[in-house]
Amino acid sequence: MNRFQNIDWARLYKVLRVHAAATLRRYRGPDTFDGGQDCEDVVQEVLKDFYRSPNGLGWKQGKGRLETYLGTIVHNKLVDRLRRQKHVSGSLDDPDFSLPAENSHATPAPERAKTRTKDALYSLVKGEAELRDLITAAELVEGGPNVNQELGEVLNKTPRQVSKLKERLLEIDGVKELYAGRQKTKSTRPSA
């Protein structure tokens, strides 16, 4: 048996896909870049490069989990694409980075992005008190591996009830798009 036989490949793909969406949201990148590619294309490109590579892009167990290793490559590729697209100037990793049109704001860009995400979430859930409470509770926790339990303690709910609340939140129009950093109307690719 080799070291790759216990890997859940479908889970790995899902992790990379969700990771890419979250990266795009944090950098507020466009839905598509590089002539119509999107973050799903970047994930697939990285995974294919990994499969093609005789040494699996240099991954060894000593270098940590495969999903973290490939996740970093996905992150770097996405940042590289965004830079090439010139949607932002300077280093995307710089805490003071900002979109060119927003340079006049006094608050650092990551702080503005965080506030924007929070405000957008609150406005999407509108009068749903339970979901508003969930968002408020999320601000109070660290969001580690036991996040449902942490949230449950704040909200006085079981982890499963918290999970159901999250499911409800994702069903609200616009929340999925917000998570993925997408525009609400998904852009279509130009035909070849």
Binding site: F4, A10, Y13, V15, R17, A113, T117, G143, V147, S163
Partner: protein
Amino acid sequence: MPGDKKPNQPDPARDVLDKLFGTTDEMTDEDLNMLYEAIAPGRDATAIVHRLAADAAIECRLQNRPLPDHLQAALDATREVKGLDNVEPSKLRQIVDALTAPYTGAVKDPAYAYRNCEGELDTHDQRIVDELTDELRKEWRGDDGEGKK
């Protein structure tokens, strides 16, 4: 190197959505599946992985290169199962687990809803479950012998 973290490179700011769902390396399977389904609805991750691996395998064969271990492992693990002959025990175990996992969704008959009960079963609940079990057992035994224990 991808795995290394530079000390002077700050993490991108964790926003409320990161805190709510966790980052991907600390996310539960349940949250991961929920998010994946939300951002890529109807996209079969196993089929996508298999297609990517199959494409890479074709390239390797065209270049007369042996398939790397990780590529072979991905192809084997994501191959569509069309029959149970020659299926590895681990795959069979996955199928059995999927079939025998308890159903946690809504049920039409409240008698079966105790699995979704948030608290402990109290004696009253237990009595109802026992009565229903007895009733089912009687009907089962009366069923022309086929279901007899």
